[in-house]
């Protein structure tokens, strides 16, 4: 079965500090895509960053970067210089050979002033 596990239900970080959110997944597929989505309170999920499994280079988007370890099936998100607007629920997800995303349970991140 394909699964995604986010082991940190809640995290907090001081403004301007760095925080890493963990995600592990399980799949027997070799070709897949991984995503981090952000869901601010009462707002829609928006894509933060995505990673193609066939690419060894870790994806980066401004202050957001991932540490993709394919052999370990690990896909963590690092947020540098955290801002108050980063406060949100963060979902890790992947898709492999189908139309459907498999999501984790989410990590609620609070950035403290």
């Amino acid at each position: 079965a394909q699964t995604v596990t986010q082991s940190q239900p809640e995290m907090s970080v001081q403004e301007a500090e760095t925080v890493t959110l963990s995600c592990t997944y399980d799949t027997s597929e070799n070709n897949y895509y991984l995503f981090w989505y952000k869901q601010p309170p009462s707002r829609q999920m928006i894509l933060v960053i995505r990673q193609e499994a066939y690419k060894q280079q870790n994806a980066t988007e401004n202050r957001f970067s991932v540490n993709f370890q394919k052999a370990a099936k690990s896909f963590s998100l690092k947020i540098s210089d955290s801002q108050l607007g980063d406060t949100a629920m963060y979902f890790c997800a992947f898709i492999a050979g189908t139309y459907k995303y498999i999501f984790g349970t989410g990590t609620r991140l609070k950035v403290l002033a």
Binding site: Y33, Q44, F91, A96, K100, Y101, F103
Partner: protein, 115 residues
């Protein structure tokens, strides 16, 4: 920037009633999806839809559920006879093309409460 929209934002219904949740995907997108999230649980895939047909569905998507694209802009999810366990947040998503390479864009969700 184009967005997926959903109405209503919150729907309250009595058990056994029919509900229709509405979504307006991004205008040039061709693939449409419904997901749901029961409070405190994972976001779960329900169904994908392309060219007026279901392309994939989960075991959750039983005969009580149906989807339709009634016109060129709306995409609906109907639950024929709601149960208490249907209470959840329902998210619509769309993509330009299908498959794993295309990022899904999500709407803000409809919170369904079944009493």
């Amino acid at each position: 920037e184009p967005e997926v929209t959903q109405t209503p934002s919150h729907q309250v219904t009595q058990m056994g009633q029919e509900v229709i949740l509405r979504c307006v995907p991004i205008s040039n997108h061709l693939y449409f999806y419904w997901y749901r999230q029961i409070l405190g649980q994972k976001v779960e895939f329900l169904v994908s839809f392309y060219n007026n047909e279901i392309s994939e569905k989960s075991e959750i998507f039983d005969d009580q559920f149906s989807v339709e694209r009634p016109d060129g802009s709306n995409f609906t999810l109907k639950i024929r006879s709601t149960k208490l366990e249907d209470s959840a947040m329902y998210f619509c998503a769309s993509t330009l093309v299908g498959g794993q390479a295309d990022t899904q864009y999500f709407g803000p969700g409809t919170r369904l409460t079944v009493l």
